[in-house]
Amino acid sequence: MKIQEADAKSLLVAQGLPVPGWEVAHNVEEARLAAERFFAAGAQQVVIKAQVLVGGRGKAGGVKLASSPDAAERVASTILGMDIKGITVRKILVAAAADIVKELYMSAVLDRADGRILLMGSAEGGVEIEQVAAANPDAIVRVHADPLLGLLDFQARQVVFAMGLGAHLKAGVAIAKGLVATMRAYDADLVEINPLAIVRELDAAGAPVKRLVCLDAKVTLDDSALPRHPELEALRDPDEEDPADRKAREAGLTFIKLDGTIGCMVNGAGLAMTTMDLVKRAGGEPANFLDIGGGARADRVAAAMRIILADPKVDAILVNIFGGITRGDEVARGLIEARAVQERDVPMIVRIVGTNAEEAAALLEEAHFTTAASLDEAAEKAVKASGGAAA
């Protein structure tokens, strides 16, 4: 699960990381009041940032500076309601603009290939790390945390020195360890600070000091771990979750909406992807990825059918079940149940093999379903049945 920058920053602060203050505004008035508070506290400028979960918001015009409360109000009114890659901006973050001396990069990520937490640092921050990795791989330093002990102090120092942060050793080590601590505390897959920045600030006596701070934060959480972090569920942004996705999630289904016309219902992620691929190969366009999971009962199947049919573009449905832990007759019962109450009739091609396939076949025959023996045949029949593909 992706979370908004402001929420990610809250998690970092809770782990003791240095993040300059911010406020979240939902409308122009809140933005103005927030900006007034930052100016009153001595800010020369404020930065206003769209809170959306898609990348590239800066390029899209979703991050802007303002030098007065009036300007902040104007900027807020342009960013709020803006469309960034299909997402409407409903919240903005307001903060004092930092006086940046240097931008760097640091992240902690779950490295699948090595099965460990990987800490990455770079003296080249503020740009996309993939670009740095492609253009100048040596500019990124990588250290794997110990799988049993976590990130050790000397490992953190190694990264901090390699980033040229010798003058900020203590702060740098604290941030490096803090990123890994944040990952472990909330079961994050990724905690990324870009930019991590050396900023010029005034100390209590008004003297200029340089400080290392986290100016941005990106955190993604491991969905499998959410059940043990119920407080993080509140960070799920309802504005950015499609209603169909939410219904699917609540029904225990994995659903991803696509643009085509053929609704797919499959058990197992690999087989669901394959079914999509074969629909496409047969000349059709899948309307969705939908995995009913292992051991689905009739009610889950019926819920899946409702979600598929809620998409008005769907004009044919392909059901592909290879029973193992899932029992074919349960799926057949769910399909029959769903069809009895559905409001819209679309052609349905059903293929059920594996556990209890014979019982399923008898049920489907009695209910006059169109069936298919093989996966390729099922895909071809579904494409033929779909008007969208013929057009």
Partner: protein, 294 residues
């Protein structure tokens, strides 16, 4: 001949008294696997599978009393990492973890603990392995198999069944079929399994079934190019039409930043001498084209 499971397998099922554990233990025994023990803490002294299988409180006891050398774990996600480490500590050599939904960071120390114990973990979130004609461990339906000499390795569950069924229907039997699991952190990779198949005299051809995300297929392909040059090899990659940035069910199956695409995997496999199928149903034909006569 086979790898990981076979006639020497003496299986302890952790979580044998649960719904799935009980059901699949029965299936495994009916297939011919020596299910010698079950473990459910607090139920030691009871029996499972109609009185035929003793249940112990700990894996250590099960090993001591029955000589179990392989474990199959059906424990829910909250307790599964501990169950894996308990098996490793008890001296179990081969540990299959079927459980899905384990938080990825929980598996990081577990994989290390298993490695230090000198054991092998398959999974989590995997369907297990079958060596047709001798034993199956996990949840793969026994009926889809046929004895033979093709080694099958896959990241998926039901997609594996699909491919194996296609092989069996075409008369191509299997030495061992293994699902390594779709999670980001797993104990045994494609590369590990290819290395085992390379050593196995009973395996004369390879089927690799991958999916988008990560680079495990590419890594395995690079090794196969050098070490499995003369053996017929075919592959299938799921997710060719998956859009970037969307996680396709498996925690591992996502294309991000242009990495992990099906195109990259297909190219790496073809460069390594694999014939790559457009549908799982084409795998048997391609294997014949590659010169396999088994």
């Amino acid at each position: 001949m086979s790898i990981l499971v076979g006639p020497e397998t003496r299986l302890v099922v952790q979580g044998i008294t649960g719904r799935e554990g009980e059901f699949h233990s029965r299936q495994m025994r009916d297939y011919g696997t020596a299910v010698v023990a079950g473990v459910t803490p607090g139920k030691g002294g009871q029996t499972a599978l109609d009185g035929f299988v003793p249940v112990f409180d700990t894996v250590a006891e099960a090993v001591r009393e029955t000589g179990a050398n392989t474990s199959c774990i059906f424990v829910p996600a909250g307790g599964a990492p501990d169950a894996v480490m308990e098996a490793a500590a008890a001296g179990i050599a081969t540990i299959f973890c079927i459980t899905e939904g384990i938080p990825a960071l929980d598996m990081v120390p577990v994989v290390e603990v298993v490695r230090r114990a000198g054991a092998r973990l398959i999974g989590p979130n995997c369907p297990g392995a079958t060596s047709p004609g001798s034993a199956k461990v996990g949840i793969i339906p026994g009926s889809i198999h046929r004895e033979g000499r093709v080694g099958v390795v896959s990241r998926s569950g039901t997609l594996t069944y699909e491919a194996v069924q296609a092989m069996t229907d075409a008369g191509l039997g299997q030495s061992t079929c293994i699902g390594i699991g779709g999670d980001p952190i797993i104990g045994t990779t494609f590369l590990d399994v290819l290395q085992l198949f390379a050593e196995d005299t009973g395996t004369e051809a390879i089927v690799l079934i991958g999916e988008i995300g990560g680079a495990a297929e590419e890594t395995a392909a690079a090794w196969a190019a050098e070490h499995l040059r003369d053996i017929p090899k075919v592959a299938f990659i799921a997710g060719r039409t998956a859009p970037e940035g969307k996680r396709m069910g498996h925690a591992g199956a996502i294309i991000s930043g242009g990495a992990g695409t099906a195109a990259s995997k297909v190219a790496a496999l073809e460069a390594a001498g694999f014939r790559v199928a457009d549908s799982p149903l084409e795998l048997p034909t391609l294997l014949r084209d590659a010169g396999y006569r088994g």
